[in-house]
C-alpha cells in the first residue's frame, strides 16, 4: 500500500514537473517572441525617423527605452496565455486545431510586413495611413484567426494598450520622438495585429503542450 501511494505520489510529481516544464517553455517562447518583435518594430520605426540615427543615438534610444522590450515580452506572454484560456472558457477549441506552425509563421511575416508598410510607405495623410493599417490588420485577423473571441480579445487589447500609451504620454512618462499624430494613428492597429499573431502562437503552443502532456500521461499509464 505504501509502495502504491509512493508510486502515485511520484507519478503525480512527475506529471506536475512535466506540466511546469511545458508551461515554462511556452512562457519563454512567448517572451522571446515579444522581445524580438518589439526590437524589430523599434528598428523599423527608427528607419522612419526624420533624424539621422548614428550608432550612439541608437544605443541611447535603447537605453532610454530599456523597459520597452521586456514590457512587450511580458505582454506577449500574457496575451499568449490569455488566448487559450479564453478559448477554453468559451468552449471553442477549434481554432487551435485549425492552426499549424506554417500559418503562424505566415501570420508573423505579414505582421512584420504591416509594420514595414507603416514605417516605410509614405502615405498622403494620417487618416489614410490609419485606414489602410486598420484594413490590413482586420484582414490579418480575418485570414488567420477568424474567431469571434479572437476579435474581441484583440480589440480589447489594442484599445487598452493605446489607452495606456496615451496615458503615459499625458503623464509625461516618455516623449515620442516621432511626430505624435502618426504614432497615435498606427499604434492601435499594430497592437491589434500583434495580439492576433501572439494569440495564434499562444493557442498553438497550448494545444501542443496539451497533446504532449496527454501523450506522456498515456505513456506513463501504459508503463
Amino acid at each position: 500500500c505504501a509502495l502504491i501511494s509512493c508510486w502515485i505520489f511520484f507519478a503525480s510529481f512527475i506529471k506536475i514537473i512535466d506540466m511546469a516544464v511545458h508551461v515554462a517553455l511556452r512562457v519563454a517562447m512567448l517572451f522571446l517572441f515579444g522581445v524580438g518583435v518589439s526590437l524589430l518594430i523599434n528598428l523599423m520605426q527608427a528607419q522612419k525617423n526624420q533624424v539621422l540615427i548614428t550608432s550612439e543615438m541608437w544605443l541611447g534610444m535603447v537605453k532610454s527605452g530599456m523597459w520597452v522590450p521586456p514590457a512587450c515580452g511580458l505582454s506577449a506572454v500574457a496575451i499568449g496565455l490569455l488566448y487559450p484560456t479564453v478559448d477554453r472558457l468559451l468552449g471553442d477549441p477549434t481554432v487551435a486545431q485549425r492552426t499549424d506552425w506554417s500559418s503562424v509563421i505566415r501570420c508573423a511575416a505579414l505582421f512584420v510586413g504591416l509594420n514595414q508598410a507603416a514605417a516605410k510607405i509614405d502615405f498622403m495623410s494620417h487618416a489614410q495611413l490609419s485606414l489602410c493599417l486598420a484594413a490590413m490588420s482586420l484582414g490579418l485577423w480575418f485570414y488567420f484567426d477568424g474567431s469571434r473571441s479572437g476579435l474581441g480579445l484583440a480589440l480589447v487589447i489594442a484599445l487598452l494598450a493605446a489607452a495606456v500609451n496615451q496615458m503615459m504620454i499625458c503623464l509625461d512618462a516618455y516623449r515620442p520622438s516621432v511626430d505624435f499624430v502618426r504614432v497615435r494613428a498606427w499604434l492601435p492597429c499594430i497592437f491589434f495585429s500583434g495580439s492576433v499573431t501572439v494569440g495564434l502562437a499562444g493557442r498553438l503552443l497550448a494545444a501542443q503542450a496539451n497533446s504532449a502532456t496527454s501523450s506522456s500521461a498515456a505513456k506513463s499509464h501504459g508503463d
Partner: protein
C-alpha cells in the same frame, strides 16, 4: 450541372492530360516561363537601392537657415542637378522615325548646355566633374561621360555624335538594350513615352531630359541657361514654369547603420525560410520528398519572376524594392495549394491508374482551389483601390503573381507530381508478367492436378492480385489459353516467388504505396494535433464572409471612401490640415495646379512626380558607377525647365483636344486610380467613378456567388459553450443479463417485423443475442429470460447438423487462450486493419507455423484449410445477425474468423443447423435482408459473399461472390427501400462508398456455384479465384461514390432515403439518389468538415450524431430535407487517452420536446456509468451511476436504444444491462 461539378470535371480532364503527356507539358511550361522571364534581362537593378532620403525645401537658397533637425545642411551639396525637359509631340500620322526626329533635338540641346557661357562662368568650370565610370562594361562606359562634366542626355547613347545617330538603323533597339536608358533620358521609362510596340492609331508624347550636374548652385547662371535654351529654333519654353519657379530641393541620402538596415531583412528572410520549411515538410508519401519540395519552391519563385516579366511586357517596371517585397509576396501567395494538391492526389486509391489518381485528386480539390484563387484575387484587387502607389503596385504584382502561380501549379507542379507518382508505381513489365502468371495459375487450378504444387503457389497470386491491384488483368486475354503442364506450373511458381521477392526488395516501393492510406489513417487518428492543410481555413474564412455579408459591407465602405477621395474632399481636407512641408501634400497641390493651365499645347510629364524615383533609384546608382557614394550626403535638385518641340509633327495638324488627352492614354489605367486629381473635368471623373462602381459590383457579385455556392456558412455558428458545472448524478438500477465468464463482444437485436403492431407485440418478442470472446453465444428476450446458451466449440465437435466443410475444428484457442481480457479492446476495425496489414507478409510464408496461427487471428488468411498439419482453427465470432422471419423459429447467423458462415437455431435445442465455408479470410461484416432471406457477408479483404438462407431445409445456399474493393471494408449496411429495391452500401479503406443492388448482386454468374458442396481440398482458394473472376463483372452493377479523401469509417442509413458517411478525413457526406429518378447516380453533399476523423455516425428519425476521434460529438438535424449542423460538444475535456470512445447511441423519443434530444455515452469522468448529453444545449444533462450488486472495472458502453420498449441496452464486461430510459433524463 452546377458550376462546382463543371469545375471539378475540368480539373479531372486536366489531371489526365498532365499525367498523360508529362514531357510535352513540362517542355511547354518551361518555354512559357522562359518567355516571360525574358524581359527580366533588361530589368535594371540599381546598385544599392533604394536609398532612404529626406527632402528639404529651404525658403532661401543661401543655406544659412540650417535647422537643428537638418544638421547635414551644414555641408555643401554633393551636386546640384538641373534638368531641361523636352516634350515632343508625335502625331499618329508620323512615321516610325518619329523617335529619330524627337531625339535629334537632344544633340543640339546637349551641345548648347555643354558650351554655354554666362559672363565669365562656363559650364566647364561650374560643372560636377567625374572620372571614368569604372564599374561598367566598356560598351556602357562609352555612353557615360568620362574625365569631364557630368552631363547626361539621350545623345550620350551615341556619344553625342550626330553621324553615329544618323547611321543607326535601329534606334529603338539601341535605346532599349542600354541599361542606362533611364539615367540618360533623365526620367523613369514609363514617363518617356517611348514604347517598343508602336501603336500607330494614337498620338504620342515623347519626353527626355538633359541633366546637368553642377558643383554648386549659381542662380544667375541657371537662369541664363534656361532662357538661352528657350531661344533654340525648335524649342518653345512653356510659360507655366519660369526659371524662377525652379525651387531647389535638397535630397539627403541616409547613411543607415548596418543593423538598422539589414536586421528587418534578415528577420524577414529567416521567417520566410521557416515558412517554407514548415510547409514543405508536410509533403509526405511521395517518392522523392526533396524533389517535390524543390518543385514547390520553384513554382512560387518562378511565378513571382514571371509576374514581374508579365508586368514588364505591359510596360510596368517594378519600382518597389524587390528584396523587401519578395518575402511578403511569397508568404501572400503561399504554398498551400501545392500541399493540398499533393495530399489529395496521394490519398487517392493506390490501385487506380496514375493518370486517374492525379485526375481524381485534382478534381476533388479543384473547386476549392479555384474558389480560393478567385477570392484572393478579388481581395487583393481591393488593394488597387487604395490610394497609395506602393500598395497598388504591390497588389498588382501579387494578383499577377497569384495567376501565374496558379498556372504553374496546374501545369508544372501537377506534372511533376504525376511523374513522381508514376515512379512509385510498380514496373509495368512486372505487372504484365504477373498477369500472365496469374492466368496460368487459373488454368492449372481448373485442371486440378498436382495438388501439392498447386497449394504451394496458389496463395501467392491472390495476394499479389490484391497488392498490385490488377484484378482486371486476370480477365484479359483468356482467349489464347493453352493447357499448361505441371512443369510450367512449378516454373511459374518459382518466377512468382522471385517477382514477389523483387517487389519486397525494391526500396520503399510497395510499402510506401500500399501503406499510404493506412499511414494517412493512423496519422490522422493518432495525432490529434497533426498539421493539416490550410484550405479549410480559407474556406471557413469564405463561409464566414458569406454569413456576415462582411465583404459586401466592406466593399460598400471602400467604395464610399474612395468616391469621397475621388471627389477630392479628403485630399482637400488633408491639404488644409497638413499644409506643412510633407512632400505628399505638395505633390498633390502641384499636380492639381499644373494641368489646367491655359497655354499648354502638350502636357509634359510632371517632373514633381517622377523625380523621387530618379532620386531613389537612378542617381545613387549613377554615382555608384563613378565609384562615389551618396550615403550621408545630399544633392540639390533644382527642378526641370520644360520645353516643347514641334519638330516631329510638322506634317500633321495639331488637334488640340487630342493633344490634351494624350497623357491620360499614355499612362496605365491603374495609375489613374491613385491620382484622381489628375483627371480633367467631370467627364473623366464620371468615367472613373463608373468604372469603380462596376468593378466593385462585379467583384462583390463574384464573391457572393462563391459564398453562395459553398452553402456552408452555418459552420461558423457553432461556438460551443463550456459545461463546467457537473451535472446531477443519478443512480439507476439496471436489469442485468449475465452472459458468460468472458466479456461480451458482439450484441445483436432482432428487428421488429413490419407486420408487428404495438398492440399485439409482447416484450418477449424482442430477442437479444450476445457473443462473448470465447465463442459462446447467449440469447435472451427482453423480459430477461435466457432463451439459449451454446458454446460453439462444443457444438462443433458434437452435434453440428450439416458441416459442409471437412475442416476439423479443434478446441478453443486464439482469444480463448490469450484470455483475461487482453483482447477486450480489440474492436472489429482493428481486426480488419490488422488482417490486411499482415496478409502480404503472411502470404509469403505458406508454411506458417502454429505459433503464428495462435498468435494472431488474421493469420488464418494465410492458412490453407486443406493442409493436414493445420487442423486447428480458431473460429471466433466476428459478426452475427438474428433472423426473425416468423415468431416460431428463430435463427442466428454467425460469421467466423475462419471464413465460415454458421446458421444456428435456438428455439429449443440451440444447435448448429448448417455450416459452410465462404472464404479463406474471416467474415467481418454480415447483413441479412429479412424479407428475401438473403445474407451478404464481407471478408477482411473486401470480398462480398451473397448467400440465400433456406430455413426450411436448414441450408445455406451460396449465391454469388464478388470483390467489393481491393482494400478492407469498414462498414456495410442495407439501405432499405432505396429506389429500385434494397441497396447494399459498403464503405472501406479505399475511400470509396459503393452501392450494390442486392437483387443483382445475387444474380452474378458464378463459374462454380456449389463450391461449398464439392468438398474439395482448397475450396477457399477456388472461391478466391472465382471471386477474382467475378471482380470485373462487379463494376457493372455497383455504383461507386468517391466522396472522401481518406478511408470511410462509418456509414448510417437514414429514413428519408440517404446514407451518411463519415471518413478519416473528418468529413461527413450525405449521399442520396440524384434528383432525376431515371439515372442511377448519387448526389453527394458534404455536411461537416472537421479536422478529426469521424469514427461513428448514428442516425435516428430526425437526428444524426457523429463521433470524432478526439471525443467531440456533432449533432446534425434533418430539417426540410437537408441536414444542418446543430451543435458540437466536447465529450471529454482532455485529449482522449484511448483513441476510440465514439458515440454509441442516440435517440429522439417522441415524448420529449425537441430541445431534449439527448444522447448517451459511456461515462467520461471515470465513473462506472453513463453520461447523458443534451446536444441542443451542448451540455450534459445528467450523469448516471449504475447500481449493480457486483463491482466491475469495465466501462459501461451503451449499445443501442430500444425505442419502443424505452430501454437502453448497454454492455459491461460479461453482462448486458437494460436501463429504463425514463430514469436517465
Amino acid at each position: 450541372m452546377s458550376i462546382k461539378r463543371q469545375v471539378s470535371r475540368l480539373f479531372y480532364y486536366h489531371g489526365i492530360l498532365c499525367a498523360r503527356f508529362p514531357v510535352y507539358i513540362l517542355a511547354g511550361v518551361i518555354l512559357i516561363i522562359l518567355f516571360f522571364w525574358y524581359p527580366l534581362l533588361t530589368l535594371s537593378i540599381p546598385s544599392r537601392s533604394p536609398y532612404e532620403f529626406v527632402i528639404d525645401k529651404p525658403n532661401n537658397l543661401t543655406g544659412s537657415s540650417v535647422s537643428p533637425t537638418r544638421p547635414w545642411l551644414h555641408r555643401p551639396a554633393e551636386a546640384v542637378i538641373l534638368q531641361l525637359l523636352v516634350t515632343v509631340h508625335v502625331s499618329k500620322q508620323a512615321s516610325v522615325d518619329a523617335l529619330r526626329a524627337a531625339l535629334a533635338g537632344s544633340f543640339e540641346l546637349h551641345a548648347l548646355v555643354r558650351d554655354f557661357q554666362h559672363g565669365n562662368a562656363s559650364l566647364s568650370n561650374l560643372c560636377f566633374t567625374v572620372d571614368e565610370a569604372t564599374a561598367l562594361t566598356p560598351a556602357e562606359r562609352r555612353q557615360l561621360p568620362a574625365y569631364g562634366c557630368l552631363l547626361l542626355s539621350p545623345a550620350s547613347l551615341w556619344q553625342q555624335e550626330a553621324e553615329m545617330f544618323n547611321s543607326d538603323r535601329n534606334l529603338l533597339r539601341t535605346v532599349y538594350v542600354s541599361p542606362l536608358k533611364e539615367i540618360l533620358f533623365g526620367m523613369p521609362w514609363r514617363h518617356t513615352g517611348v514604347s517598343r510596340f508602336n501603336v500607330r492609331s494614337r498620338d504620342r508624347v515623347i519626353s527626355y531630359c538633359v541633366t546637368a550636374f553642377l558643383k554648386n548652385h549659381d542662380q544667375e547662371f541657371v537662369d541664363s541657361l534656361v532662357n538661352r535654351a528657350a531661344k533654340l529654333s525648335w524649342a518653345k519654353h512653356l510659360p507655366t514654369l519660369e526659371s524662377a519657379s525652379l525651387t531647389p530641393t535638397h535630397i539627403y541620402f541616409k547613411d543607415n547603420s548596418f543593423i538598422v538596415e539589414y536586421t528587418p531583412l534578415l528577420v524577414l528572410y529567416s521567417i520566410l525560410f521557416l515558412y517554407i520549411y514548415f510547409s514543405v515538410r508536410k509533403i509526405q508519401m511521395v517518392k522523392s520528398k526533396w524533389g517535390l519540395a524543390f518543385g514547390a519552391c520553384f513554382t512560387v519563385v518562378a511565378s513571382l519572376l514571371m509576374s514581374v516579366g508579365v508586368c514588364m511586357y505591359f510596360g510596368i517596371a517594378p519600382s518597389l524594392n524587390g528584396s523587401e517585397t519578395f518575402p511578403y509576396l511569397v508568404v501572400l501567395i503561399g504554398m498551400e495549394n501545392v500541399l493540398v494538391i499533393t495530399k489529395s492526389v496521394v490519398s487517392t486509391p493506390v490501385e487506380l491508374e496514375v493518370r486517374h489518381r492525379v485526375a481524381v485528386g485534382l478534381s476533388k480539390e479543384g473547386w476549392t482551389i479555384t474558389r480560393s484563387l478567385v477570392a484572393e484575387v478579388s481581395l487583393l484587387s481591393l488593394g488597387l483601390l487604395s490610394f497609395n502607389t506602393s500598395i497598388q503596385e504591390f497588389a498588382l504584382f501579387a494578383v499577377v503573381g497569384l495567376c501565374t502561380d496558379f498556372f504553374l501549379q496546374m501545369f508544372f507542379f501537377v506534372t511533376i507530381l504525376a511523374i513522381d507518382i508514376k515512379r512509385m508505381e510498380p514496373l509495368p513489365v512486372a505487372k504484365q508478367r504477373t498477369a500472365n502468371l496469374l492466368q496460368q495459375q487459373q488454368q492449372l487450378k481448373q485442371q486440378d492436378q498436382q495438388q501439392q504444387k498447386q497449394q504451394s503457389i496458389q496463395q501467392v497470386p491472390q495476394d499479389l492480385a490484391v497488392t498490385l491491384g490488377c484484378d482486371e488483368s486476370i480477365e484479359d486475354n483468356n482467349s489464347d489459353s493453352k493447357p499448361a503442364t505441371a512443369q510450367t506450373a512449378s516454373d511459374s511458381a518459382e518466377q512468382l516467388r522471385k517477382l514477389h521477392q523483387f517487389h519486397h526488395m525494391h526500396r520503399r516501393q510497395p510499402s510506401d504505396a500500399n501503406t499510404a492510406a493506412f499511414l494517412m489513417h493512423s496519422l490522422t487518428a493518432a495525432a490529434t494535433s497533426a498539421p493539416a492543410p490550410a484550405v479549410p481555413r480559407r474556406i471557413r474564412v469564405l463561409y464566414y464572409l458569406a454569413s456576415k455579408r462582411l465583404a459586401l459591407r466592406l466593399l460598400l465602405l471602400v467604395l464610399c471612401v474612395w468616391l469621397l477621395q475621388a471627389s477630392g474632399l479628403i485630399s482637400a481636407v488633408s491639404r488644409q490640415l497638413h499644409s506643412s512641408l510633407t512632400f505628399s501634400s505638395n505633390l498633390s497641390t502641384t499636380a492639381s495646379s499644373n494641368p489646367g493651365s491655359s497655354g499648354d499645347l502638350v502636357e509634359h510629364p510632371d517632373y514633381q512626380r517622377y523625380w523621387p524615383e530618379m532620386a531613389a533609384l537612378h542617381w545613387p546608382s549613377l554615382f555608384g558607377h563613378y565609384n562615389r557614394s551618396l550615403a550621408g550626403r545630399y544633392v540639390t535638385y533644382l527642378g526641370a525647365a520644360c520645353y516643347q518641340s514641334a519638330a516631329a509633327d510638322r506634317s500633321a495638324a495639331i488637334d488640340e483636344e487630342t493633344v490634351t488627352e494624350q497623357p491620360q492614354q499614355e499612362q496605365p489605367w491603374w495609375f489613374l486610380l491613385g491620382r484622381p486629381a489628375a483627371l480633367h473635368g467631370t467627364w473623366g471623373l464620371a468615367a472613373i467613378c463608373l468604372f469603380g462602381v462596376t468593378f466593385v459590383l462585379t467583384s462583390t457579385y463574384a464573391l457572393m456567388l462563391c459564398c453562395q455556392l459553398c452553402g456552408l456558412a452555418w459552420l461558423f455558428r457553432l461556438g460551443s459553450r463550456a459545461f463546467d458545472r457537473p451535472p446531477p448524478l443519478r443512480t439507476v438500477v439496471p436489469v442485468v443479463l449475465p452472459a458468460t465468464s468472458m466479456d461480451v463482444d458482439l450484441v445483436c437485436i432482432s428487428s421488429l417485423a413490419p407486420a408487428d403492431c404495438p398492440a399485439t407485440r409482447r416484450v418477449e418478442d424482442r430477442i437479444l443475442a450476445a457473443s462473448s470472446l470465447d465463442g459462446s453465444v447467449s440469447v435472451w428476450n427482453l423480459s430477461g429470460r435466457r432463451l439459449a446458451y451454446f458454446d460453439r466449440q462444443l457444438q462443433h465437435e458434437g452435434q453440428c447438423d450439416c458441416v459442409t466443410s471437412d475442416a476439423t475444428v479443434g478446441p478453443a484457442d486464439g482469444y480463448g487462450k490469450l484470455g483475461d481480457g487482453a483482447d477486450v479492446g480489440l474492436g472489429l476495425r482493428q481486426r480488419v486493419s490488422h488482417a490486411t496489414s499482415l496478409s502480404p507478409s503472411q502470404a509469403a510464408s505458406t508454411d506458417s507455423d502454429l505459433a503464428a496461427a495462435t498468435e494472431a487471428v488474421p493469420s488464418n488468411s494465410g492458412l490453407n484449410p486443406a493442409s493436414p498439419t493445420q487442423t486447428l482453427s480458431s473460429s471466433s465470432i466476428w459478426c452475427m445477425s438474428l433472423i426473425t422471419n416468423d415468431t416460431d423459429s428463430r435463427y442466428l447467423l454467425v460469421g467466423c474468423s475462419d471464413g465460415h458462415l454458421e446458421l444456428w437455431d435456438f428455439t429449443c435445442t440451440g444447435s448448429a443447423k448448417c455450416r459452410i465455408q465462404l472464404s479463406a479470410e474471416g467474415l467481418t461484416h454480415l447483413t441479412v435482408q429479412q424479407s428475401q432471406l438473403v445474407a451478404v457477408a464481407a471478408t477482411a479483404t473486401g470480398m462480398l459473399h451473397c448467400v440465400r438462407l433456406l430455413l426450411d431445409a436448414d441450408r445455406i445456399e451460396p449465391l454469388s461472390s464478388c470483390r467489393a474493393s481491393p482494400l478492407p471494408l469498414h462498414s456495410m449496411l442495407i439501405w432499405p427501400d432505396a429506389g429500385h429495391g434494397d441497396l447494399l452500401a459498403t464503405a472501406g479503406e479505399d475511400n470509396l462508398i459503393r452501392f450494390f443492388s442486392i437483387g443483382e448482386l445475387c444474380k452474378i454468374r458464378q463459374p462454380q456455384q456449389q463450391l461449398s458442396n464439392n468438398g474439395a481440398v482448397g475450396a477457399g482458394a477456388a472461391a478466391a479465384a472465382a471471386a477474382a473472376a467475378a471482380a470485373a463483372g462487379a463494376a457493372s452493377f455497383c455504383t461507386v461514390v468517391s466522396a472522401h479523401a481518406a478511408p470511410v469509417l462509418a456509414l448510417a442509413a437514414y429514413p428519408s432515403r440517404g446514407v451518411l458517411s463519415g471518413g478519416a478525413d473528418g468529413a461527413v457526406f450525405q449521399v442520396s439518389p440524384a434528383d432525376d429518378r431515371s439515372s442511377s447516380g448519387f448526389r453527394q453533399k458534404r455536411l461537416v468538415w472537421q479536422r478529426q476523423p469521424v469514427l461513428s455516425v448514428s442516425v435516428s428519425s430526425r437526428h444524426a450524431v457523429c463521433g470524432l476521434a478526439n471525443g467531440q460529438l456533432l449533432l446534425l438535424r434533418l430539417c426540410t430535407g437537408a441536414w444542418r449542423l446543430l451543435s458540437c460538444c466536447q465529450q471529454q475535456q482532455q485529449q482522449p487517452q484511448q483513441p476510440l470512445q465514439p458515440l454509441l447511441c442516440t435517440w429522439s423519443p417522441p415524448c420529449l420536446l425537441p430541445s431534449n434530444d439527448a444522447i448517451v455515452t459511456s461515462s467520461s469522468s471515470g465513473l462506472n456509468g453513463l453520461d447523458v448529453w443534451c446536444l441542443a444545449r451542448r451540455r450534459r444533462l445528467s450523469r448516471v451511476r449504475l447500481a449493480t450488486d457486483w463491482i466491475r472495472s469495465d466501462p459501461v458502453q451503451p449499445v443501442c436504444l430500444l425505442s419502443q420498449e424505452s430501454m437502453l441496452l448497454c454492455k459491461c464486461g460479461p453482462c448486458l444491462l437494460l436501463v429504463p430510459e425514463c430514469q436517465l433524463t
